[in-house]
């Protein structure tokens, strides 16, 4: 089923923020906003649910810490205990200060890398992926708001959007399976 969407382009992030708030106040549905750089507070203005990435980062950090402890315990205590600087490796706890840097580093390593990978998967990004943004200018200096026309009157919406400061407005017939 074909549906109509309206592409409104802006040239300033402050104007865009105000426009997003006005559009939401009118109860129009914003499908997506494409911006050349992250706009602070845009997610809140659009009413997006808060990200769960922080929780995953915490869990990945815990995994990293566990890996570090298990690994160092196997290598340094169980498999090949050595007497380093008069500190024989008989117990993990007694030698713990020496392992803290590794525990810290692996916590950070796991949290950072797995979080980035999660972010890519969640955003459906992978190598050679075709760009989804409908207008190349959104990678340069334009901001594009995609508003779902739904069952609203397209002409009223267009004039409303141009009042919010849009420099260009396009009405697009969108195939559901097209993007």
């Amino acid at each position: 089923m074909a549906s109509k969407v309206i592409h409104a382009l802006y040239t300033d992030d402050d104007v865009l923020m105000d426009a997003v708030k006005q559009v939401r106040a009118e109860h129009y549905h914003i499908e997506e906003v494409y911006t050349p750089f992250p706009v602070h507070g845009l997610d809140k203005a659009m009413g997006l649910a808060p990200t769960k990435l922080a929780i995953t980062a915490f869990m990945y950090g815990c995994v990293g810490l566990t890996v570090a402890i298990t690994m160092m315990n196997y290598i340094m205590i169980e498999d090949w205990p050595q007497d380093i600087g008069g500190k024989p490796s008989f117990s993990y706890l007694e030698n713990m200060p020496a392992f803290v840097p590794i525990m810290f580093e692996l916590t950070v390593f796991f949290a950072a890398h797995l979080m980035v990978i999660t972010f890519y998967m969640r955003s459906k990004l992978w190598p050679f992926k075709e760009a989804e943004n409908p207008d190349v200018r959104t990678t340069d200096d334009h901001f594009l708001m995609e508003v779902d026309a739904g069952h609203h009157d397209v002409d009223t919406m267009t004039s409303f959007l141009s009042n919010t400061g849009a420099v260009e407005i396009k009405v697009i017939d969108k195939q559901e399976d097209n993007h």
Binding site: A54, F58, G85, G86, K87, P97, A98, V100, P101
Partner: protein
């Protein structure tokens, strides 16, 4: 304009009075002769235990007595006598330094805001300025205590006792730096420089409010802030060697200046957050929003981690290399100060880490207050651990002297800081970034 409520005034005066009484009691109840100590030891059930511990670990408890390995009966009691006589002095020293370092930390934070031309913080400037008001009276009191210790009126500094320096190779080598006069002249230079910056920073800030055209005064504030920060990081480092590290003059740590800096910085930032939240709860500072609190809490979190990093870096290298003259510092602390030594790591690291990790909790005022109080207590214990082992050895106890000294300086601190808040409007309206700061949001 803020007005000092009579309740708060009374509260701070009561704290000062109680603190002064308690501290006087602490000084009076300290034993003055060996006979007193013997009597105390006889009444004290722990007396025997102390004696046993002394025989094995006596040489690291107090540097001054490190040389006499063979303890005769009276020598042991004399040793104990000096520790007990030091106790109220050390308690006074720690509390005086702790509240002084809070205002010094805030002064450094304030200067950084100017040097970095920060846009988020100008709404908090008047709170910071008020906290630095304690710098001058607190600094003068601390200077007097330093002079008394440096000239060996009390027995806090081993190097101040000439009979102990003679024959001690390390102390003789350090005598050109660690001697009473040069020590006190240095302290005067450090404090004088900090007072001077504080004086002009406040003056320019007030002038900028009266005459904001052209930002003439703001530019001056920027310049002196940058100059002060250079002066500060050198002098703070040297001050931390003089005022704290020299309690253990045989021992040294190359990152000690940074370590003390982390402590005073996080305590200062925490105090800014606590006083701001207090003022907001009283209906002042309506221009401060929860994003400002969030940012302060982020600093509390971040600098707590930074402090832990330095604490651990200092510990791990010394623990691993295990060189006798270095490692005694930590052996004393782990054997005799187990609870405060590890308790402080929980208070200064584990607790802020878990409580302030979540982004949303940093905007919940009571969470920030709770974490802040624990952090402040934790850094008091941190200073306690730096000073006490070398001055009172295993005779430490957080008792009447220690609590009274804290109450005394807390009362003074509150009185001076809140009095200073009434001197100027709570919003630095002339600051060029004030509008940005008011609209700051995360």
């Amino acid at each position: 304009m803020y007005t000092l409520s009579s309740k708060l005034r009374l509260f701070s005066i009561i704290l000062v009075v109680i603190g002064a009484l308690g501290l006087t009691y602490g000084f009076l109840s300290a034993p003055s002769t060996i006979e007193d100590v013997k009597e105390m030891a006889a009444h004290d059930a722990h007396g025997g235990g102390h004696g046993d511990a002394k025989a094995t670990s006596g040489d690291h408890a107090n540097e001054s007595h490190g040389k006499d390995d063979a303890h005769g009966g009276d020598e042991h009691y004399e040793h104990l006598l000096h520790q007990l006589q030091n106790k109220p002095w050390a308690a006074l020293y720690i509390a005086a330094f702790f509240f002084f370092m809070i205002s010094l930390g805030v002064l450094a934070f304030y200067a950084i805001q100017f040097a970095a031309q920060a846009g988020w913080s100008p709404v908090l400037f008047r709170v910071m300025e008020a906290i630095t008001a304690y710098l001058v009276p607190g600094g003068i009191i601390f200077f007097v205590i330093l002079a008394l210790s440096g000239f060996h009126i009390n027995h806090l500094f081993v190097w101040a006792d000439e009979s102990k320096v003679i024959g001690d190779k390390l102390l003789e080598g350090k005598a050109s730096w660690l001697n009473s006069w040069w020590f006190i002249v240095r302290a005067a230079i450090f404090l004088g420089g900090w007072f001077l910056y504080r004086h002009f920073a406040i003056k320019y800030s007030r002038k900028q409010d009266e005459d904001p055209t052209g930002n003439k005064w703001y530019k001056k504030s920027f310049k002196i802030a940058a100059a002060f920060l250079v002066f500060f990081i050198y002098t703070e480092s040297m001050a931390s060697w003089d005022w704290i590290m020299s309690f253990d003059p045989h021992w040294f740590s190359t990152l000690f200046g940074w370590y003390v800096f982390a402590s005073l910085f996080v305590s200062g930032i925490t105090t800014i957050a606590l006083i701001t939240i207090y003022l907001k709860s009283k209906g002042y500072m309506e221009f401060v929003n929860n994003s400002h609190i969030h940012d302060l809490a982020k600093f509390m979190f971040g600098i707590s981690i930074f402090w832990t990093y330095l604490w651990f870096s200092q510990f791990m290298l010394i623990w691993y290399s295990n060189i006798p003259e270095e490692v005694t510092y930590f052996i004393t602390r782990i054997e005799d100060y187990k609870l405060p030594f590890f308790g402080m790591v929980v208070m200064n690291f584990v607790f802020p880490l878990l409580v302030l990790m979540n982004s949303d909790y940093k905007r919940v005022n009571w969470f920030v207050v709770m974490a802040g109080i624990i952090i402040l207590c934790g850094h008091y214990v941190d200073i306690f651990n730096m000073v006490m082992p070398a001055t009172v050895g295993e005779s430490w106890f957080i008792g009447i002297s220690e609590i009274s000294a804290v109450l005394l300086f807390l009362g003074l601190f509150l009185f001076i800081v809140f009095k200073a808040l009434t001197k100027a409007p709570l919003l630095a309206k002339g600051n060029p970034y004030i509008e940005e700061s008011k609209h700051f949001h995360y």
